[in-house]
Symmetry: C2
Subunit: 223 residues, 2 copies
DNA sequence: GCGAGTATGTGTATGACTTACACAAAGGAG
DNA sequence: CTCCTTTGTGTAAGTCATACACATACTCGC
């Protein structure tokens, strides 16, 4: 197609769908595309895999470079390899899902005057560059499914939280309401939480604070 | 490390873990490695991705070329990309799971005098070339998990089968026994099966034959 | 032809779990 | 002090999973 020589093997890249819950809504991180056919459009952060790094390392490195994020939960999602997915050349892209708590410690739009990094609610997450609409959809499906049978919520939460905040997290990701009494019963029965004995004081009745006993991925039937 | 130039991008390959149930045991297909450090060892079938084909197409093509198998169920599994996984050079490999019914229509060891394609029970599936032990383990885990919440068994079964054969299929893959009455109750209640009205005659009491209403992947809570 | 062997086919009772649902208490804001 | 909002708690009904035993139908060997 292009007059130049055909590469003997496709280029290898990673793309990362970063999720957080912000303003009671599940949001994904997007970056502005700088060059090529899709310049100016939004896309998931990503980049080429270097010869000496693993795929996981590439995902972490490109994420840190483009967004400043470090120490995030990363999980490989799926590999997209249609010959036409990037009009600039054959690129096989290994997609990742990343989950971070919204500590407010990450403020996008820091680098330029035109924002080139932004949070976008997943509800209206469309018209992304390349095949990233499909990547984002797959990432969202994976996240929703996995929240039901793992303890992965911990990646979205700060070290201490109330049961109300925990429930709000589930409701934001799943997009539906849950019964409070049944939710508490189930989660306390699972024994994943450690009561901290402290209270979160706010404008209303104080709520007991909890933390996760183990902050590592485990499969547990939750919902 | 090698004195030559570093490739700008890793090579891209596919590897396929093909499963079938044979002699009441779950078995995987292995091929003999011809060249390189692992020559003579067993490995999963696979090969390079061509510039103009998708990953799915590459998996199907290499599988057909090395084993003669066509029209199989193929599903992408995971992408392995450690820089050291192939001592012959950096290769990122997209792994697939394939499932076929054992129709007896595929006889390995057809091409050479020394068998270069063989079925191996998954129980003793170890000492494979490259990182294929890990690939096979991941494929097996995926298969076992997915059998529980999809109708994927249909890929392992011929068009008509008895409930006993269906149950034997589950038991072979999962590696544990199931209660016959509860199994029948559950599967008939799901309505996935179509009674054919015919009987399988054999050395014992004849058994009713069934087929799947739909031979396409669906998520259904089965076990 | 008949007995032995083996796989098919069927129902119920118990316990575990899920779901739906209402009201009192604690604090802040005005 | 009143209002508003959020926390915190128990029970009853229904659904679902599990455990479990016996009669039937056919082939094979004698």
């Amino acid at each position: 197609m292009s007059g130049a020589f055909a590469a003997p093997t496709p280029a290898v890249a990673v793309d990362v769908a970063v999720f957080t819950v912000l303003d009671d809504a599940l949001q994904a991180l997007v970056v502005r595309v700088r060059h090529g056919t899709f310049a100016g459009r939004w896309a998931l952060p990503g980049g080429r895999v270097r010869p000496d790094e693993s795929l996981d390392q590439a995902a972490g490195r490109t994420l840190a470079a483009q967004t400043g994020l470090g120490d995030v939960y990363l999980e490989q999602l799926y590999t997209f390899g249609s010959p036409q997915r990037d009009p600039g050349g054959r690129v096989v892209s290994v997609a990742y899902v990343a989950l971070i708590p919204h500590g407010g410690r990450f403020q996008p739009a820091a680098t330029g005057r035109v924002p080139d990094v932004a949070w976008r609610p997943v509800a209206g997450l469309t018209s992304l560059a390349y095949d990233h609409d499909a990547v984002a959809a797959a990432a969202l499906a994976r996240l929703r499914a996995k929240l039901g049978y793992t303890n992965l919520v911990y990646t979205l939460l700060p070290p201490a939280f109330t049961l109300g905040e925990l429930q709000a997290m589930y409701e934001a990701v799943l997009g539906r309401r849950l019964d409070r009494r049944n939710f508490r019963k189930k989660l306390l029965a699972l024994g994943l939480l450690r009561p901290l004995g402290r209270m979160r004081r706010g404008p209303h009745r104080p709520a007991a604070l909890y933390s996760f006993r183990h902050r590592r991925p485990m499969v547990v039937e939750i919902l």
